[in-house]
Amino acid sequence: MTPVLELKNIEKKFGDVIALEGINLSVHKGEWISIMGPSGSGKTTLLNILSLMDAPSGGEHLLGGVNAGSLDEAQKLVIRREKVGLIFQQFHLIPYLTALENVMLAQYYHSSVDEEDAKAALEKVGLAHRLTHRPSELSGGEQQRLCIARSLINDPEILLADEPTGNLDETNEKVILDLFCRLREEGKTIILITHNPELGRYADRIINLRHGKMEEAVHA
């Protein structure tokens, strides 16, 4: 079975600084991978490459068997909006739009907007009662759930999450963790960057990064 995502000897340099080196990874549909490592180990750089927001300096990045390096900007854009759902540590919500409109925004840039679908996505993350609230009126946990609802609205193949519980307290962390578990049960492929060993523990595999190099993959 073709992996949904495959990295072959990926390298990333910023000038003379090597951020990533010799990264090899295969991710199959429905897998939950946690990428862990100390600050500056290259986790976010790797996530940027996986989400096609950055290009590697060397190596091959295959998405569903297609080499991302051979794609132009427009094609990468299509893949990003069709196949990838992004969850950020800082949430990155539009402050002047309501929760519902923030979700609809992702629909807008994907295809067309549908309020009912957006409401359903918010219900799924437990925000049915917060549809008309703006991000500033939501708690941190609610903002992260809104961010997850936005990432799910276009039914992406892969969810890429960068420290999704990094800004949350223990209670909200638990809520988010439960959400990820449910998404795995639904068959979503999840790649999650985290410092949190508790969150990492739920993954099928843990990839440890150190100084831009991948240490052996640990099966959780």
């Binding site: 976010t44 409109e101 807008y108 840039y109």
Partner: protein
């Protein structure tokens, strides 16, 4: 995704987002809005004044006096032409364009202390054709057919020892016509008029025995040099005289008008340029503060065109409303200019609305182009890193 979606809902969502975004950053939006509105207001006012200035300035510049002179077609053949020809010709002048005109018939008459040059005139017309003629004593004659009174130039009055109320006997030796007139006023222009005796034209014709004959006509016609030249050419086709614009006056009017119009265009351009700089700076600041939003949109799959459309729509709507309001306010500003400068209102010209709106939109678009272009190249990954 459900394929059964309303295509219009996308544009509705875009508009909803745009209005919310404008409302969210209302303080900076207001700066842009006011800048554009003021720019459009000044431009609109100037366009109104520009379109009305010909008639306004023509009236102002009529203080210089006559700008068209009617003389016999061929001076070699006759120094006179028919008064009736002149009167018939007046219909070719567009309605409202003839401010005033006076025919003249000159001749020498003997007074008690010597000879004097008498001018038969239309007193009401002469008041317009020679607005600089000042009454230094007595009063002006306002009735054209007044054959009992006369005006005398200040130099002639001194020479002939004439005073207001003095009587003069005028006599035609050939026909035996004789009449006595009274000096009603002493006038001065500081020029040749100071040596003339002014009587009504019919009286002069009787005294000089030149019934229905005149030497020349001075007229004041509204319009720029080209318009007056065209009217003069038409007048010349009517009868035994030729009408010529007094280039010194008419051309001066044209030159002054051109310079004023150029100055107004320059001021409007400068105001729009300042507006553009304000729009550019404020929009740059708005876009800079929304860098994360732009990066997010790009991460969500928005193309550069999508981002440009979003900011372009915001700028366009804001500029359109501000320009339209400013252009309408421009009419009121033009009224202020009209009252202060010309002492009267300026006519509303509908053309000022589209002109001011389009110019403001054009300048604002140029001002918005570079900030929007810069926004398309934000480093998405770096900005969203969240550090």
């Amino acid at each position: 995704m459900d394929a059964n979606k309303q295509p219009s809902s996308r544009s509705a969502f875009l508009l909803r987002s745009v209005f919310k975004s404008l409302r969210f950053s209302y303080d900076r939006t207001l700066i842009i809005f006011i800048s554009i509105m003021l720019g459009a207001c000044v431009t609109g006012a100037f366009v109104n004044v520009y379109l009305d200035i010909n008639s306004k300035m023509s009236k102002e510049l009529k203080a210089y006096g006559a700008n068209v002179l009617f003389t016999p077609k061929s001076i070699d053949k006759s120094l006179f032409f028919d008064q009736s020809d002149y009167e018939k010709s007046l219909h070719v002048i567009p309605k409202g364009s003839l401010l005033g005109a006076s025919p003249y018939l000159f001749g020498t008459v003997r007074l008690s202390l010597g000879d004097a040059v008498m001018a038969g005139v239309d007193f009401a017309g002469m008041k317009v054709a020679k607005p600089f003629l000042e009454v230094v004593q007595g009063a002006y004659i306002n009735v054209d057919f007044d054959e009992r009174n006369a005006l005398v130039g200040v130099d002639l009055a001194k020479k002939m020892e004439l005073k207001v109320g003095s009587s003069i006997n005028l006599r035609n030796e050939q026909s035996g016509f004789s009449t006595t007139i009274r000096i009603k006023g002493i006038v001065s222009s500081g020029d040749k008029e100071d040596g003339l005796l002014f009587v009504s034209l019919p009286l002069a014709q009787k005294v000089l025995g030149k019934a229905g004959q005149i030497h020349l006509v001075e007229a004041v016609i509204l319009g720029d040099f080209n318009q007056i030249s065209a009217i003069s050419a038409q007048l010349s086709n009517v009868g035994s005289f030729s009408a010529k614009p007094l280039a010194r006056i008419s051309l001066s009017e044209g030159l002054i008008l051109d310079k004023i119009k150029f100055l107004m265009a320059l001021v409007a351009f400068t105001v729009l340029l300042i507006t553009s700089m304000c729009v550019n700076t404020t929009l740059s600041s708005i876009i800079f503060s929304r860098t994360k939003e732009i990066a997010l949109l790009r991460a969500l799959g928005a193309s550069k065109r999508n981002v440009a459309t979003l900011f372009g729509t915001e700028t366009f709507l804001m500029t359109l409303f501000a320009s339209l309001i400013g252009a309408f306010l421009g009419y009121f500003l033009s009224q202020f200019f009209g009252t202060v400068i010309f002492g009267s209102g300026i006519d509303f010209r509908f053309l000022s609305i589209p002109i001011a709106t389009i110019l403001s939109l054009l300048f604002a678009s140029i001002a918005a182009y570079f900030p929007i272009k810069r926004s398309l190249n934000v480093p998405v990954a770096t900005i969203l890193r969240g550090e």
